[in-house]
């Protein structure tokens, strides 16, 4: 286990919870298969919609149909990175009042929740993404549907930049999950945060339609806001829509948002837990 590499390091508790939760989440095979099946279905529907849309006149579209297909499969493969919900474990603790007992751990509560969120999202994405790649990159070309498949990145540099940007996506996703945790802790309910989060994230990340399709006037704003770093930036880099300095600028933007959201989440979490009232004598 990775944790044993740092037997006395300050990171040990966080690596332990990360590894522990990751292992636990990987056990849910049925959930992974169900998620994969759902995402295949939605991938096919979306691609059919794009195909119909482009058949009606593709001239002047910001993305080629090929790139839209790539974007769609990537979106389905990495769907579980979208912070639609607060961490369900933390939601349980908020509901039962056990959230206060998180303060009994000799750890920084923010870093602790962040490590949990990282383990939660990556452990769900990994099996689903592997199945999706097997389906969309390997199986589809084999059955003669290569035109509708998920191709590898066009260049090595696109692949490298995507890897960096995907890391940004993972870190951003965890930072947003913890912020949802904090909203939930402050409001003592998971309903509000979760109801608002899903549509907001779907729209502004570029999950519903790539941000490139939005009106020109809105695009600078849409590309600058933090949630673009969850979907639009990494996927556009993947198919080569953002290269060189443009790609690095987009990655830098992701990094800035990660730092801002981590600092804001930390400050807010301490405040919310400081004000927490615990009922019952």
């Amino acid at each position: 286990m990775a944790a044993n590499l740092y037997p006395n390091g300050a990171l040990r508790p966080y690596l332990a919870v990360l590894a522990g939760r990751f292992q636990l989440m990987l056990q849910y095979r049925a959930a992974a298969l169900a998620g994969f099946a759902t995402q295949c279905w939605f991938g096919v529907i979306r691609i059919l919609v794009f195909a119909a849309f482009y058949a009606g006149g593709a001239a002047g579209q910001p993305l080629s149909l090929r790139d839209a297909v790539t974007y769609t499969w990537l979106g389905q493969a990495f769907l579980a990175f979208l912070p639609w919900n607060a961490d369900p474990d933390v939601a349980d603790m908020v509901r039962s009042g056990a959230v206060a007992y998180e303060r009994l751990r000799p750890v920084d509560t923010y870093a602790w929740w962040y490590a949990r969120a990282l383990a939660w999202s990556t452990a769900r994405v990994l099996p689903r993404a592997a199945l999706m790649v097997a389906f969309a990159s390997v199986l589809l070309p084999l059955v003669g549907l290569g035109k509708w498949s998920l191709p590898p990145p066009p260049t090595w540099s696109a692949a490298g930049l995507f890897a960096v940007s995907a890391l940004g996506m993972i870190l951003l996703s965890a930072a947003l999950t913890v912020i949802l945790n904090v909203i939930m802790t402050a409001t003592m309910s998971d309903r509000g945060a979760n109801t608002l989060a899903a549509p907001f994230v779907n729209l502004f990340s570029g999950m519903i339609i790539p941000l490139a399709f939005f009106p020109d006037a809105l695009r600078p704003f849409l590309r600058a806001q933090p949630i673009a770093g969850l979907v639009d930036i990494p996927f556009t880099i993947y198919f080569g829509g953002l290269t060189g300095a443009d790609a690095w600028r987009a990655i830098a933007l992701q990094a800035v948002w990660v730092v801002v959201l981590v600092l804001a989440g930390r400050w807010w979490l301490e405040r919310a837990l400081g004000r927490l009232q615990i009922q019952g004598g």
Binding site: A3, N8, P13, A16, G20, S96, A100, L104, P106, I278
Partner: protein, 333 residues
């Protein structure tokens, strides 16, 4: 310097209130009324290392609030509190690394993990060196007889088994202070005894300071030399349990079985004696030993009536405490 020092600790919080009914709910949307609740109103006490303190009081008296402040979960509104030289809520991380906490109504072990994996996770959370961890864990497992439970997921354990694991889990990092909030709640008799034995061993043999809250007076009788009674947010008494008993309910009970139906004792000179119960041939008397000594009482009764059996007892501890709460108007609000 005492290990735990508490001075003038107060905690107030506000809760939103609304008038009853639909109209009240609508009005509450516009204008909130707030009610201030004083959970603690100036609590002072200190505790030396190695003491075992029992904290009792009716529901809502402020026991758990005090424990939560001492363990660093809650910030008080006012007052000073030092545990081993640290202020719990200000030096939270360093403070919680040195204490162990068990809440009888919650679990700190991971529900889906086998007990042993939960222990391993705690080893990492508290950064316990591996060899030291193994030694402590094996000792605790032996003491609490957990060998057969270690491989079971926590959710499959009975409450009694789980509570033994919880207390062991709270001791894995060898804290010098242990907080137990209602550790025996809902347990069956053997589990209660096991928990009490374990707490006694930790306190007497390891010198662990223990603060215990409970509603089970037998916990207090079995464990605590010192008892703090808390009610309505203030300390009502802080003394050995015996002192408390004598101050509140010095009376004794005499249980008499007569040869015939229990007689009316009106004709005898029995000052300081009241009839507490009567059932066929059995009679239960309450008497104050400072007014009339037991031998005197016995001789006056046996002189007038023929008696089959007599024994003298102290009132049950629950009765002592209930009487104490009544005297201080501290029954549950």
């Amino acid at each position: 310097m005492p290990q735990i020092l508490v001075e003038g600790l107060a905690k107030t919080y506000r809760v939103a209130e609304r008038d009853p009914g639909t109209w009240g709910a609508v009005r509450g949307l516009v204008r909130r009324r707030w009610r201030t609740i004083e959970a603690l109103k100036g609590v002072d006490f200190s505790l030396e290392a190695g003491e075992l303190l029992g904290f009792i009081g009716p529901n809502g008296a402020g026991k758990s609030t005090t424990i939560k402040i001492l363990s660093g979960i809650l910030q008080p509104s006012e007052g000073r509190c030092e545990v081993g030289g640290l202020t719990p809520w200000r030096d939270r991380i360093r403070h919680v690394a040195r204490i162990g906490v068990v809440f009888g109504q919650r679990t700190q072990l991971w529900w889906d993990l086998p007990v042993i994996e939960g222990f391993d996770l705690l080893r990492d959370i508290y950064s316990v060196p591996p060899d030291r961890y193994r030694r402590t864990r094996d000792e605790l497992v032996g003491l609490m007889r957990l060998e057969k439970l270690l491989d079971q997921p926590v959710r499959q354990l009975s409450l009694g088994q789980r509570m033994r694991c919880e207390i062991a889990a709270a001791m894995l990092h060898e804290p010098s202070i242990l907080f137990l909030d209602e550790p025996t709640i809902g347990l069956d008799a053997p589990s209660k005894l096991a928990v009490r034995d374990f707490v006694r061993v930790l306190n007497k043999e390891r010198g662990v300071t223990v603060i215990l809250t409970t509603h089970d007076m037998h916990d207090i009788e079995a464990l605590a030399e010192r008892v703090i009674v808390i009610g309505n947010g203030t300390i009502l008494a802080d003394s050995p349990f015996e002192t408390l008993r004598q101050g509140v309910l010095a009376e004794r009970r005499m249980f008499i079985d007569f040869e015939a139906d229990a007689p009316d004792l009106a004709g005898l000179d029995l000052a300081g004696v009241t009839v507490h119960g009567r059932d066929g041939r059995a009679l239960e008397l309450a008497f104050d030993p400072r007014v009339i000594a037991a031998p005197q009482l016995i001789s006056r009764i046996t002189a007038a009536h023929s008696v089959a059996d007599i024994h003298v007892d102290e009132p049950a501890i629950e009765e002592v405490i209930a009487r104490f709460y009544d005297l201080h108007g501290a029954g549950e609000a």
